[in-house]
């Protein structure tokens, strides 16, 4: 939970957005995020976001599923409650494989969805500050994080030179929170 000050710039065209993102990075301002109405290909590279580790998480969740299924079934059928099924040995690996496979898929899928939600800070009932009401409609909105030493007017002027159609300064919660919109806004700087 951190209340921060942001400089917000709205662009009405992808073609303007890309050079703007590039020059903001080049000038050394700290970019909080860019909000677009649709997925813009190549924007992650332009913003310099590093590759996701989601797939590593998926692999680990998958391994958890494999070991859960194999361990649990082996324990049940060999020591907890051994039953003779059609003369098969108690530890019947081929019979365990389908369930092991399913649990591997289930664990990695559910785990990856939850990890994805955590990484992207989206979840049912979870709120994030909206910098511009039209950021999911027809505007590309860039938020720049400011600190106490930043000259606000200088940032606004700089953003205008990059082709922003709207600029303003906002104080907002940077992270996600659980609850209602009206309880949290507007903010005071901590």
């Amino acid at each position: 939970m951190a209340i921060k000050k942001f400089a917000v710039a709205a662009y009405d065209d992808e073609e303007v957005l890309f050079p703007a993102v590039k020059s903001v990075r080049h000038s050394g301002y700290k970019m909080h995020d860019v909000y677009t109405p649709f997925p813009v290909h190549g924007l992650d590279h332009a913003m310099g976001l590093k590759d996701t580790d989601l797939h590593t998480a998926g692999f680990i969740f998958g391994l958890c599923g494999t070991s859960t299924a194999l361990g649990f079934m082996s324990w049940i059928f060999t020591s907890d409650w051994p039953i003779n099924f059609g003369g098969k040995p108690h530890f019947s690996l081929p019979a365990f494989i389908p369930i092991t496979f399913e649990l591997t898929v289930l664990f990695s899928a559910v785990g990856m969805v939850l990890t994805w939600c955590y990484l992207n800070q989206v979840m049912p009932g979870v709120k994030k500050h909206v910098f511009h009401p039209r950021q999911s409609d027809d505007l590309f909105v860039m938020a720049i994080e400011l600190n106490d030493h930043t000259n606000e007017q200088e940032v606004i002027d700089f953003l205008k030179t990059t082709g922003a159609v709207e600029t303003n300064i906002q104080v907002a919660e940077a992270d996600w929170w659980y609850g209602r919109w009206d309880k949290k806004e507007p903010y005071e700087l901590a």
């Binding site: 797939h55 692999f59 059609g86 003369g87 081929p94 019979a95 494989i97 389908p98």
Partner: protein, 406 residues
């Protein structure tokens, strides 16, 4: 741009050397193995030939399938190196002729004993016993000849046809869509033919009938998965080779990544089908079905049985899982070679156990025959590749393939 592929002297010499090795092995094999009084030695001569000729015929035919599938799906990723599957597909007839000669020779000339005791140790149903007589509607010489000829003729025709259509596109006026849609139509027809041959009847006829008492409805799918993985690996080896020779400048890591994905995904599919077949038979525990795995898993073939799963499942899933490894020329080339060998081994354990029992070898004869077929493949495909421009300049999807991003 380097559009023309000149066959390097080294490649030509290697292929001729490999073919010579194959021919010498065949001659020595004919004298030593076929001349022997031991039935297993005689069978060794023929089983190895069946295994290699069918394997090579099927993996080259997989190139026709991928052309048809991508034409129907309007896939642009393959266009950058489309000439490679085309060249492989156009040479299917060579392997078809070889396979037809070998299969007919085994079915009709390989007989042991005389009078009432005459039998064919490989295609036992040529002189059917009681059980095989009940399958006579399908397993009879007429069906065998008919389906073998139909399969080989159809594959050879489509291999040539797809190449011809693609080359005709080069001569057609720019932006002419007629040939493109003709290609799509023929692709649809080919999928029907392929379904009737590779995906159902042909593997039953050529391979499954070697153990005629046993049957599995999964068998052809399992076989298809096997040859599709190795067919993709074969295309990949050619692409990487041509790239190393300075051709195929349009091909970059994105395209190699796609071939790697196919190798990876269909290795998993192979395992899925392999395990389906295994588990159902294991579960039901019917003696006439489990005999197939009794010989392979617990008998003299257990080494190959487990090596098969490790090479064709554990290795690709661990090595090809991450995206960077599919984009690395070394790892994909290494895995392509491993998978081609792995599925050759898979065919080995399908063909050998019944006729050879515990007298199997992987020794001078098997390796020599494999080398011979590899030589034929390298010789014919490189010759076809050198005849035409490697860049399908007039293909409508050319721009898409250049900017392709996987």
């Amino acid at each position: 741009m380097n559009e023309r592929f000149e066959i390097p002297a080294r490649l030509r010499n290697t292929s001729i050397a490999l073919m010579l090795i194959g021919i010498i092995t065949l001659i020595v094999g004919a004298v030593v193995l076929l001349g022997s009084n031991d039935v297993f030695e005689k069978s060794r001569f023929w089983t190895s030939l069946i295994q290699d000729s069918v394997y090579f015929l099927m993996i080259t035919a997989a190139s026709i399938f991928i052309q048809a599938a991508t034409s129907l799906a309007q896939g642009s990723w393959i266009v950058a190196y489309r000439r490679v599957p085309e060249a492989i597909g156009a040479n299917v007839w060579v392997f078809g002729v070889i396979a037809a000669v070998i299969l007919f020779a085994v079915a009709f000339t390989y007989n042991i004993g005389s009078g009432n005791a005459v039998h064919n140790p490989i295609y036992t149903w040529m002189h059917p016993d009681e059980i095989e007589q009940k399958k006579g509607a399908f397993l009879n010489p007429g069906m065998f000849v008919g389906f073998t000829l139909f399969t080989i003729a159809a594959w050879s025709f489509f291999g040539k046809k797809f190449q011809a259509l693609s080359l005709a596109q080069e001569k057609a006026p720019k932006n002419d869509t007629k040939i493109y849609w003709t290609m799509v139509k023929w692709s649809g027809v080919f999928l029907g033919v392929y379904w009737l041959t590779q995906m159902s009847v042909t593997p039953w006829m050529w391979i499954m009938s070697i153990q005629a008492h046993w049957f599995s409805t999964m068998f052809s799918w399992y076989n298809f998965a096997s040859i599709f993985v190795s067919g993709m690996a074969l295309i990949l080896l050619w692409v990487v080779y041509l790239k190393n020779q300075g051709n195929l400048e349009l091909v970059n890591k994105e395209h190699v990544h796609d071939l790697g994905k196919f190798m990876f995904a269909f290795s998993i599919f192979w395992t899925y089908v392999w395990f389906d077949q295994y588990m159902l038979i294991w579960y039901a525990n019917e003696p006439e079905e489990t005999i197939f795995f009794k010989l392979r898993q617990q008998g003299p073939y257990s080494l190959i049985f487990y090596a098969n799963v490790i090479i064709n499942f554990v290795m690709p899933i661990l090595i090809l899982m991450t995206a960077p490894s599919k984009r690395n020329y070394f790892t994909v080339t290494f895995m392509a070679m491993v998978l081609i060998f792995g599925h050759w081994l898979d065919f080995f354990q399908l063909v050998m156990p019944n006729p050879m029992k515990d007298h199997w070898h992987i020794s001078w004869y098997e390796i020599g025959i494999f080398a011979g077929f590899a030589g034929v493949l390298i010789f014919t495909v490189s010759k076809t590749l050198s005849k035409h421009s490697l860049v399908p300049v007039n293909n409508m999807l050319l721009k898409e393939t250049v900017i392709h991003h996987s």
